[in-house]
């Protein structure tokens, strides 16, 4: 009889995993870049196309890197939070306008407020690929040494700000 219990035991173990699986999100793709230096790039700025920006320009500060676009629906949901965050002055936010047109992007910011220190333009999405962007919006927390400390997949929410992003930012700023 002991041997006949094997199928039951195997099933129970599997059921345990299935239960755990109910609370995971199989569609979320975690980034392998967390803990690694933010990939370098040099992109033109949205408001001043003649000038460029690179992540090394932000060394010595903790900052947020937010990927957005005017055609992105979920970006509208998170935008007010970003505006508020920018107004609080806790942490600077740099935006990356992903696969967008400059005129549409500027109009979008005019309508909804501009929380960004500046926005760079990633017209063909190449830099997005370097950052492992697969959906918009996505936000990265980058520390003083230029290392990616955290990636927020999907829109920034009140809960994610309160529980994940802001505590992390404070910790990194204290370093």
């Amino acid at each position: 009889m002991k041997r006949a219990l094997i199928p039951f035991v195997i099933f129970i173990i599997m059921a345990g995993f299935l239960f755990k699986g109910l609370f995971l999100n199989p569609r979320e793709v975690p980034s392998p870049l967390v803990g690694k230096p933010a990939p370098a790039f040099s992109l033109p700025q949205l408001d001043q196309p003649g000038k460029t920006f690179a992540p090394k320009d932000m060394l010595g500060q903790v900052w947020l890197f937010n990927v957005w676009a005017s055609w992105c629906g979920a970006c509208r949901d998170e935008h007010p939070l970003l505006v508020e965050l920018a107004q609080s002055g806790v942490v600077p936010v740099v935006g990356m306008d992903y696969k967008d047109t400059a005129s549409e992007a500027k109009r979008w910011l005019n309508e909804r407020g501009n929380p960004y220190l500046l926005s760079v333009v990633d017209a063909d999405g190449r830099v997005g690929i370097d950052y492992g962007v697969y959906g918009v919006p996505e936000t990265y927390v980058i520390d003083k040494a230029g290392v990616i400390a955290y990636k927020q997949i999907g829109p920034v929410t009140l809960a994610s700000l309160r529980d994940d992003i802001l505590p992390l930012v404070k910790r990194l700023q204290a370093q």
Partner: protein, 653 residues
């Protein structure tokens, strides 16, 4: 009003199912004939109530009632009527109702065709099926009500997913469910046998036709899904090892092992515990498939919209049903008893080896399907397990099983002499080995996979031919008499095995020798592939009932002679704004020519993909042969309920 009546009918059905799941089983334990006798009328009543509920939902779709949430989410005014009806099972809630309906159909069928089965056993079987029904009806009524109202009613529906607006949708899910759910009968037979402590050759004879019928439906259902994907998705693929495809394939593998195991139990009284375990596992895998599709645990193109509550409910149901039956198995397996003796080399041992191989194959598919979940749950990161893995693992596992198909039927029961087998099969071995090497060289491409595939296919052809020849040329009265004298069950086996060989041949040839080109075509341009010339004649605008289309024409000729015209289409469905490509296919026994439109480019040109798929239709033809073989086996005379047979079984009873 009608949706409310349908809802109420489901509630009544639940009450009936609760009664069906309790009184007959308790009655069987106590020998109470009245309670046992309740099973048959309750089964009929349950069927009537669930069927009525289903009709109410179908009516809501037919009459475009968008005050029902489910209808609003899956239908649209411009959706043609046949697809509106098929949309009943296009989403989660409705497909559950289909599950419950089909379960009630099998239940009432068992109640009607089981006069030869002892009362206690029949009561237990129907009782177990009633309990399963309770689970599904409860699930629907608690967290997945298809009749939920939308106030205020929507003006129009969100439309059925364009990929599902196809005759395949009318055919594939019902066939598949008939198969999945049909394994509940074998499951119920097993539980009844464990409960009653009666597991003998008679039990195997009773349950075998039901199991084969479920297997036939599942074979046809999977085949229909594969064929549908082939002509619908536009890239010529027919199997993707997607989580839900695997969820239907695992019960099929275990079901195949079960059929073989039942054959041995019926003939020789052996493998009893193994058979019961396989029956439990086959249905458990069906239930697991239901869980995987609806819980959000895995991503899949087939997955329904998800909700953790639903997932928890189904998982609890799974634990109760599967965990309970496996515990019952562990407890009662020893009472099942040993069967007859057989040699290390015998037909029994070959069949046992076959079962082990099929079980390992099913477990491997399960491992690959659930592995990403395992790793994620243990915080080891996220990986993907796809076709490269399954192809690499599955083929080596199945190759020995296919090889055994040639040896098993020729081997004697109880003990077979290995030297004798080798002598009988040496021609088959030689022919298949030579063909496996010569044919690819002739066709211009030889790889290990092609060689192995061709060898296995021709091995089965040759050894089966040897088997049939041996039986027929020794028969009294000549060949025709020999054919009639062999049982339908035997012919069923022959045809089903040949079907597998046909399938393997199709897969090997299409994977080894298919070709494709991706070209930019202006009207009048000509492309060449596999010796054919494809001339693009441009597109014209056509409109369907709920879509606008660009309808292309491609003339196919060989050596200047027009052979056929391919008509691929690029559609835009108006409600969902979803683009879809309908391939233009010219199917033939020897090959398919397949074209699909990509994107319109500048200058009136289009990007076009053209495929040459040799012997791809053999894949589905092989599946049909397997199903036909199963039907023949089911129609065997010993399952006939003629008056004589009934009288005989009553006297044995």
């Amino acid at each position: 009003m009608i949706p409310e009546i349908g809802h109420f009918s489901l509630i009544l059905a639940l009450l009936v199912a609760l009664t069906l799941g309790s009184f007959p089983i308790i009655g069987a334990a106590r020998g109470n004939t009245v309670w046992m006798g309740l099973a048959k009328p309750l089964s009929a009543l349950q069927f009537a109530l669930v069927a009525f509920s289903f009709l109410c939902l179908a009516y809501a779709f037919a009459s475009k009632d968008y005050s029902v949430v489910y209808v609003a989410n899956n239908s649209n005014s411009q959706l043609p009527l046949p697809f509106r009806i098929a949309a009943v099972w296009g989403g989660h809630e409705g497909s559950l109702l289909l599950w419950a309906l089909i379960l009630s159909v099998w239940t009432v069928a068992v109640s009607l065709f089981s006069k030869h089965i002892p009362d206690a056993m029949r009561a237990r079987i129907l009782g177990v099926m009633g309990l399963i029904s309770v689970g599904f009806l409860l699930f629907m009524l608690m967290v997945s009500n298809p009749f939920e109202r939308l106030m205020p009613a929507a003006l129009d529906g969100r439309d059925l997913n364009p990929l599902l607006q196809d005759p395949g949708m009318i055919f594939h899910p019902p066939m598949l469910y008939m198969g999945y759910v049909g394994f509940s009968v074998a499951f119920a037979f097993s539980i009844a046998a464990l409960l009653g402590g009666q597991l003998d050759a008679a039990w195997a004879r009773w349950s075998r036709p039901w199991t084969i019928m479920a297997w036939v439906f599942l074979t046809v259902g999977i085949m229909a899904g594969s064929n549908w994907a082939y002509y619908e998705l536009g890239w010529g693929g027919w199997w993707f090892w997607d989580a839900v495809e695997n969820a239907s394939f695992m019960p099929w593998l275990v079901g195949t092992a079960l059929i073989h195991s039942l054959a041995v139990t019926e003939k020789r009284g052996s493998f009893k515990a193994w058979t019961v375990l396989l029956a439990i596992c086959a249905f458990s895998l069906s239930l697991l498939g239901t869980f995987l599709v609806r819980s959000g645990v895995l991503t899949s193109v087939h997955a329904f919209a998800t909700d953790p509550r639903r997932g928890v409910f189904i998982l609890a149901f799974l634990v109760v049903v599967i965990g309970g039956s496996l515990l019952l198995f562990a407890w009662r397996a020893s009472t099942v008893g040993r069967g007859g003796k057989f040699d290390v080399v015998s037909r029994e041992s070959f069949l046992l080896a076959n079962n082990v191989l099929l079980a390992v194959a099913a477990l491997s598919v399960l491992l690959g399907t659930l592995y990403p979940l395992f790793l994620d749950a243990l915080n080891f990161g996220k990986i993907s397990v796809g076709p490269p893995y399954f192809d690499a693992v599955f083929a080596p596992l199945m190759a020995p099983a296919v090889f055994l198909m040639g040896v098993g039927p020729i081997a004697r029961w109880k003990d077979a002499a290995l030297p004798e087998l080798v002598v009988r099969l040496r021609w088959a071995l030689g022919i298949s080995a030579i063909t496996a090497i010569a044919l690819p060289l002739l066709l211009g491409n030889l790889t290990p996979m092609i060689g192995l595939g061709l060898f296995l296919a021709f091995w089965v052809f040759a050894s089966t031919a040897e088997l049939v020849y041996q039986r027929l040329h020794k028969a009294e009265g000549g060949w025709l008499a020999g054919i009639a004298a062999s049982s339908r069950s035997w012919w069923g086996m022959v045809i089903a095995h040949l079907g597998i060989a046909v399938f393997v041949l199709g897969v090997t040839v299409v994977k080894g020798y298919e070709s494709e080109i991706a070209v930019k075509m202006h009207p009048g341009d000509v492309a060449h592939l596999a010796g054919y010339d494809f001339r693009f004649d441009g597109v014209e605008s056509r409109n369907g009932p709920n879509y606008s289309a660009s309808h292309g024409q491609i003339q196919v000729s060989k050596n200047g002679v027009l052979r056929t015209v391919l008509e691929p289409e690029k559609r835009l469905y108006t409600v969902t704004n979803m683009p879809m490509s309908e391939a233009g296919i010219s199917p033939h026994l020897i090959h398919d020519l397949y074209a699909s439109l990509g994107e319109p480019l500048d200058g009136g040109a289009w990007s076009v993909r053209i495929y040459h798929k040799p012997m791809v239709e053999w894949i589905w033809f092989g599946c049909l042969m397997m199903a036909f073989g199963g039907l023949l086996a089911m129609a065997d005379k010993r399952y006939r309920l003629t008056k004589q047979a009934k009288a005989a079984s009553v006297s044995q009873g």
